[in-house]
Symmetry: C2
Subunit: 355 residues, 2 copies
């Protein structure tokens, strides 16, 4: 499920595009002075950033404006910082997942793998050149998320707070990526508690909590609103991740843009798998899940067991449950009705897609 299906009113997105455009323009001019190759790396990074639907900047801008913020140009730098963090995380995530394609086109690693192959390098050497370029490009996006945040004009206290929010997003995302690797070393499926914890770390903090809280803090919102938005973001992100994992197995490939057995072959740790692994049906599929050579027929067999064991319904209910919890955090007089109305579709869309 691409996050662009989660509708949030696009206010001030033009300013976010402006901030990103200026940043890449300046960077490309600097890079060109070093050499055409480095300029090319920056162009590639810009293309990786261009494909997205600005979900995180949308949350920043919505929270900021609906809590009384008026300086869109300033808030846009915060939105752009979160977008660049997102780029950094997907570029490095693709290195970690050994993916060379993103949104149907070659990613940073894919592009530089092709260049190395064309230069006559061995397949393994070219893959590594691709990964290396991905590491470097992700580093540039990550460090410049901090740089964009430095451009924000605000009091020292607000700046400190924004810095802490960005830091928490990086700290939690890195933890989530790391736990993902760690749990994949253990053949047993983790308990549901761990799955939810990882969803919060990998998804909620940087994609929901951070952008919403940053927008609120920049608008000088009262503390209770900032706390409520954090709670909403946490549960909305968990709901999103559980639903996304469901779509990864049962989704329509054309709509999701991904094959729907990649996660099964990889043995991805999800609520679905955690649930079924504690049931007797698990014995009949445990040797298939996580096997790289899984056939289409075997994938169908696994899906059937996931339905029959109740794992699919359980996961869909769980996503709906977190979505509903997310909603309750907004039920407070301190949260303006307009902001509640803007955020409501985010959780509704999650539930609608998996029902």
């Amino acid at each position: 499920m691409d996050m662009d299906t989660l509708l949030v009113e696009p206010i001030g997105l033009e300013q976010v595009e402006g901030a990103l455009g200026r940043f890449f323009e300046e960077s490309k001019v600097r890079a060109a002075k070093i050499g055409p190759g480095y300029h090319g790396l920056w162009e590639t990074l810009e293309r990786c950033t261009a494909g997205g639907k600005r979900f995180r900047p949308r949350l920043v801008m919505s929270a900021y404006q609906m809590l009384g913020g008026r300086d869109l140009e300033n808030a846009a730098e915060v939105g752009a910082a979160f977008e660049l963090l997102h780029t950094a995380l997907i570029v490095h995530d693709d290195v970690i997942d050994r993916d060379f394609i993103r949104r149907g086109i070659p990613n940073v690693s894919g592009r530089y793998r092709s260049i190395a192959e064309a230069a006559g390098m061995s397949a393994e050497g070219a893959r590594h050149v691709g990964f290396s370029a991905g590491v470097i490009a992700g580093d540039l996006a990550l460090s410049n998320a901090y740089r964009l945040l430095e451009r924000v004009e605000a009091s020292a206290a607000v700046r400190r707070r924004l810095g802490e929010i960005l830091d928490e997003a990086v700290f939690a995302s890195a933890a989530g990526e790391f736990l993902d690797i760690e749990t994949s070393l253990n053949p047993a499926m983790p308990p549901l508690e761990d799955i939810v914890h990882m969803a919060r770390l990998k998804t909620s903090v940087y994609s929901f909590e951070g952008p919403l809280q940053a927008g609120a803090v920049l608008a000088d919102a009262q503390e209770e609103v900032v706390v409520r938005l954090g709670e909403f973001g946490r549960d909305a992100g968990i709901a999103y991740q559980i639903a996304d994992d469901l779509l990864g197995v049962f989704g329509n490939e054309t709509r999701t843009g991904k094959t729907n057995w990649g996660d099964l072959r990889e043995g991805k740790r999800t609520a679905l798998m955690s649930y079924v692994s504690a049931r007797p049906e698990w014995d009949s599929i445990s040797s298939l899940v996580g096997s790289p050579g899984m056939s289409a027929a075997e994938a169908d067999q696994v899906r059937r067991i996931l339905v029959d064991s109740g794992a699919r319904d359980y996961s869909a209910d769980l996503a709906a449950d977190y979505a509903s919890r997310a909603r309750t955090h907004l039920e407070s007089d301190v949260v303006p009705a307009a902001l509640r109305a803007a955020l409501e579709p985010v959780v509704s869309a999650v539930v609608d897609r998996v029902r």
Copy 2:
């Protein structure tokens, strides 16, 4: 050549250790709340940072104090930021170079490769787990270099300047790493001009220019001093890199801690190779240089040609030349004699090692 052989008076290093110690302590406490595995990753990162001799913080502290700075605690945060940037770059550089050992002990990738192997993973899978942990750990070090810089107390103008210096260090280092990969795709050895350009990008900016200029800016030094220190750092870093490449081929393995044919096998682009590749002698060794299976006898043959063709002397002279240029930048009344005296051994040591 390890940079700890380049002597700079260790003033205020205790404060730098304090700043790094506090940072890792706080981070480990936070990480432990997420889980023991993530805490372990932070311990590994701390160990990677602990092995160094604080060359960059030494430069920060020397410049700061000899230009009149008195708040050692504050300057130590800048020193710690550059040390953490150094950790980030070596951790990611090891991923790019596919190295699992650093300073004789397993690096981040080496540690997590072993853990994955012990968990029963295939050799290739375990290597990739190692690289993935390296990517994540490097990201944490990189983003926290920015965080440490945020802790520095200074006027808005000085803070902006410090941010620009760190940014330039990251931008140039990434460019240097990238150009390294790019030139390795071309079988021809690059011209000397490109070798010097890469040395500046990879070594001078973040290890010499940045730390010296950051110390000076924090001490509110006059602009001419900042410029002079940048020029000194640029040429000293180039001299260092050329000398280091010479030691990589001719150095005593026990003293350098590296094998002295790794660079030959890898076909590393150096001043030595650039020089010899334009000479008739090149024909007799071009097929050996960069061949992973190079024997000890073949390495000796390459070394002999490098001596006989004059490449060795040429490189040693070039390093001495850049060291001497570096010195001339300090010959100005605006540079205090004490600072000149502190920096002099840095360039002398470079030349002494390769003579």
